[in-house]
Every structure is written in C-alpha cells, then in structure tokens.
Amino acid sequence: MFLRLQGIIAGYGGSQVLAGIDLGLGAGEAVALLGRNGMGKTTTVRTIFGLLRPTSGRIEVAGRDLTGAPPFVIARAGLGLVPEGRQIFPTLSVEENLVATARGPGPWDLAKVYALFPRLAERKRHGGSQLSGGEQQMLAIGRALMTNPRLLVLDEATEGLAPLIRSEIWDCLGRLRAEGLAILVIDKNIGALSRLVDRHVVIERGRLVWQGSSADLAAEPRVRERFLHV
Amino acid sequence: MRPLSSDRVMAGLLLLLLPMPAVFAALGEPFLTVVLTRALIFAIAALSLDLILGFGAMVSFGHAAYLGIGAYAAGILAANGITGLEWQVPVALAAAGVFALVTGAISLRTRGVHFIMITLAFGQMAYFLMSSLSAFGGDDGMTLAARSTLFGAEPFNGTLRFFYTTLALLAALWLGLRAVTRSRFGRVLAGTRENEIRMQAIGFSPFAYRLTAYALSGMIAALAGVLLANHAAFVSPSYMGWARSGEMIAMVVLGGMGTLTGPVLGALAFILSEEALARFTTHWRLPFGAAVVLAVLFTRGGLLGALKGRGRE
C-alpha cells in the first residue's frame, strides 16, 4: 500500500466530520472518492496532507507512519495536491506559480505543463490573480504535476473547466495513470471517473459506506441513487 | 457552569464596580477610586474605538486625537469662562464630528494597514497642531480653569461623584452601542467588515455606513476627552500622540474586540496593571510588556474570550 488511512477521526473545533475512515491505496492505483456535498471528502484530503490533525487514527505513506507530520513532510513523501477552490498564489506570476514549489526528479517540467495547457503558456507572465476561474484551475493542476508526485490528489479539479478542456484533462489523467502514477480523485462526473479509476469509495457522513469497481457501481443503481443521487 | 455571555460579564463587572469606592475607603485607600475613575474614562474611549475597530474593521491609529479634541474643547471653553457641559459637550461633539467627517472621508478610501497609517497621519497632524499653538499652552498644555458643570450642578466635584458619573455614563454608552451594533445599521457595518464586495452586490454603499460609524466613534471618544480633562484638571497635546492611540488599540484587542464588553475589561486591565506595576519598579514596562505578550499568546479572543472559555468548562 502506498497510502493507508486507519480509523481516521477528525473534525473542526467541536464538530466531528470524519467518523473513522479506513482507506488504502496501492502504488499506481486510481481511486475515486464519492459523496454528496458536505460529507467529508475534502476533510479527508486535508487530513491526508496533514493540514488537519486527526483526533485519532493513523496515516501511513509508503510504509512510514506520518500521523501528525507537518504537510511538507507528507508532500515530500510523494503526494501532490490540487486543492478544492484552486488556491493558486495570487501574488506570483503564472510561471512562478509553477516553478516555486517544483520538485524533481520526474517527467514533469515547464515545457510539459505548457504543452498540456497552452492557455497557460500564453498567460505565463500574468499575475495569478488575473487569471479566469478555469485558467486558475489549470494552473493548480500544473503546479501539482510540477512536484512530480507518486500520488496525485485532485479535489474537484475539473470544476469550472470548459468541456473541451475537461475531456483533455481526463485523457491526460488516463495517460498519467498508464505511466504508473497513483491517483485519488474527487469529482462529480461519474462517467469520466468510471473510465479512469479502479475503485470507487463512497463517503456518507464521515464513514465509508460502499466501495467497489466501476462495473460494480454501474451494476448497482441503488448505491448511485442512495448515496450520490444520480 | 453555563457559558458566560458578554452581557453577563458586563453586568457582573458593573456590579463589582459599584461598591468599589466603599471597599477602597474601608481598606484605607480611598485614592484608588480616583485611579479607577481614570480607568473607566479610558474604558469609554476603548468602547468608542471598538465600534469602528471591532465591528467595522477600521483600525484607527489616530483615535487619541478625538480624546484630545474633547479635552481641548473643555479646556478652551473653561478658560473663557464657559464651564457648562451643556455648552462644552455639544462643542466637543461638533468638533470631533467635523474632524471625523473630513479625515474619515479621505481615510476611508483606503483599507487595512493603509487605513491604520492614514489615520495615524491625521492624528499626528492634530497632535502637532495643538503642540504648536502657544495660545493654548503649546507643548506644555494648559491647566483646566474650572471643573465642568451641568446646568449649575457639579457632576465632577468630589471623588465619589466623579466616579459614579463616569460609571453611569459608561453603562449608558455600553447599552447604547450594544443596541447600535445589533441594529440594522450595525449589521450592515459588520457586513462590510466581512466582505465589502458582497455588500455592494446586494445593494449597500459601505462608505456612508462606515463614515457614520467613524464619526459616531470619534464623538464618543471626545466625550471621554471631556471627562479626562476634568479628571486631570489639565489638557495637553500628549493626550493625542500616536502612543496613546496605540494604547487604546491595545486595550480593545487585549480585552476582546467586537464585543463591547471586552474593551471595557481591556481598558481596566491595562490602566490598573500599569498603575500597580509602576508602584513596584520604575522598570514596570518590562513585566507589563511580558504580560501583554503572554496574555495575547495564550488567550484567543482577548480577556473576554478567556473568561468565556473558563465559564464553559
């Protein structure tokens, strides 16, 4: 297992959001995290990255116990994050956003990212805050790729992207997967997810309530109905 | 224990303050009433600052200027034989209001630290102006010719009377500001603190609300200035310097901003601990500074926050 969560309980202030999450993700595996609004998907991601300290439970990355480790240690263990709401650096130019936190070695460099998102190349000298919503989303993905992670975590990474770009990103994620990158992805586009991932995990009120393959999900309309309202 | 609300803390505080003069007298330290009165005057000033700082996110670093305006209004009128508060207060309020409207209209174009600094600039201008006017004693200040009167009565004559006048005024202003901050006006003010663009998008022009609050706050501070002039029987530009403004911010934040009760607590804690420490050592700034640092680092939401936290356990 590259990433393993065991019995994670976490929350904000007084209110508990995650009520004991167990989740494992093998090297090169792609997993989708599903669930309705406010069920704790983002909270899970924040806990994985050490941005939120779990009140109990254990987080392992590549066999190392990293529970309570600061975010940068976890990231350096090979995790790349495309956060919810983009969170690009507004005071840096597009290119600086990509370069500032870049880490090697690995396949990703500026040229590759620009090839994936030509729109970013056009705007590379512009300030991050001047980008359109979709451009910021591209930048957030590019920035995470530039850290050359072994596991890429995408929290609603296609939100606000035009259909054409969106399908390009799904294609790209498919290629990355094929090259052996592990992926943990949150998205509402179940069709595209199903083509990408090995396994779906559904969260409901801070607990894992169902998991299975794309075929299982397709075969169980009740799960889709009950937990996802599709 | 039930969580302590800001209101209950304030009520408790007032109940605690009410018998203090008698307690001090019994302890054989009646002078402490005078010290406490001074702390109450600063509590009024801090209260006024909280309206714009805590509720409007306008951190004025020139608020001491209003204290000075009030003090000089009392001082200058008294020097000309006008001791009636019925004249002094309107003049103080008008002067402070005009100064606030003019400087506020300019300052409110800026935000955040820029607002802090532009209000500092206006405060310093007022300070240097009064320092250079020899007609009013310039830098040396002027002695208050006579204590203020109110339609012939003498609310500031005698330690006890002064104390209770100030306490009553503080309580009344606290109640008044509590109502204001919960009113429609107060909501809009707090809304502009939270997210100005959002407020504009639903149809409010924040400027008018901010300016109104700014002027109101300056006028209340001027009222505190009138009291301060009577308390010290002296008026000096040093009431208006930036250090004073900084201390007032410290009182508000230390006590817990945006709560009205907090600043009152903060002012009392600030003035009284300064007085207490100064009795032990001339190097009192060292322990005082340390206390401020520790108080902020280890409480959230100021002293009031700490009190509330205790009540919850």
């Binding site: 359109s132 606000g160 035009a162 770009i165 595209a192 | 809304g191 998008a201 609300y209």
Partner: protein
Amino acid sequence: MTPALSVRGLSKSFDALKVSDAITFDLAEGEIHAIIGPNGAGKTTLIHQLSGSLAPDAGRILLGGEDITRLSMAARARRGLARSFQITSILPGFTALENVALAVQARSGSSFRFLRPAASERALNEAAAAALAAAGLCGTEGRIAGTLSHGEKRQLEIAIALAMQPKVLLLDEPLAGTGHRESAALLQLIAGLKGRLSIVLIEHDMEAVFALADRISVLVYGRVIATGRPEAIRADAEVRAAYLGDEEES
C-alpha cells in the same frame, strides 16, 4: 417590449488583452440567456461589467431601458440587478440566515436604523428563511457561513441572490461545485424562475445549459461568435471546435 437588459458594444481591455470586444446582446423579459465559451473567454469579466464591479472601456448597459453604465454596483443592485460570484463570496462570519437577511434588509426600508435589533425583525427572518429553503439549504440557518462545505456555500450564493428579489439575475457558474442532488435541485429552482425574472447564465455544465437556456451566446476571445437557440448552437461546427468538443458525458 423593452428588453430586461441590453448591452451595446461593450468593450474592455487589460493592457494588450481584449477581454470584451464590442459585445452586444439583449436579454428579453423572463428569458434565460446562457453565455458559454472557453476558459478565459471573458464571461466573468462581462458579468463584472454588467454588475458594476468593473468599468467598461466603451459601450452601454441598459436595465429596463435605463442607462446604468455609470452607476455603482450598489445602485444597480438597488435597481434590481443581482449576481452570484464564480468564486464564492459570502459573509463568512455571519450565520447563513444573517447572510440572506442582509439581502432582504437591503431592499426593505432604510438601514440607518440604530436602535431596534435586526435579529428580532420577523419580516427579515421569514423572507430569509424562505430563500434558504428555496436554495435547498433547510436546516443550515444557524450555521456560520464560513464553516459550510464548498457546495453549501455555492447554494448560499444563490439564496442571497434570490432574497434580493431581482428583476435580472446574473449567475456565474452556479452549479460548479454542487453535488448531483443539489445541482438537480438548483436546476429545478432556476427553471422555476423562468418567466418571473430574466437570467444571464454562465455555466460549463452543458446538460444544464441545454436544459435551461432559451437562447445561447458563445463567447470566444471576448467576441460573441454565435447566438441562437440551443439546438442551433449544439449543431454549430465552429462552436464544437472552439468549445464543446465531442465529449459525451454521463
């Protein structure tokens, strides 16, 4: 009949970048007019200019026949122009109910009232609660808005806009970030508004756009390259090449 909103030759540049290039269109009374286009085409910038947070370089904006090009954002809002923000914009320290109640307050009477507590004004609270419910946020009234989940915040944006009871509503990607059930509910909500008020809708969710819109304009590099009924746009080759691709999503 005068259109609810008409835009004439609106132009805006950031340095060398032309983000609005002589944009002209009409929003008929009661219609939903969708604006689609690639990322960075200038859709949000257009909304900024319509709502008054950005001044255009040239062109005019008419609301119900009245020229509002020079009016401030607040003045436009008071005349019945409401908007939602692409990047969530709420009052994070207020409760959800207070967020909406302020919007109600803005259209009902003066806010220079200093003494009566606003929290006890029943009219404000009732209207606000109704708007929250309409946006699918029952039960969140007392929660601090900043602690809502991303999707819930998106819904709150809609509730605030609705509470203003606008004549014209500008929606910038209202569905982005909402889950399936919520977006279905919102879709229904917006559909229900059709006819009662006029809506400019920006959305990348094509299903929603084709389901809701009476007319669609396609914006590319600041220019409207096509305007028409949904079927026509879907079939337009140029639009497919620039924006839609051949994606078929579930």
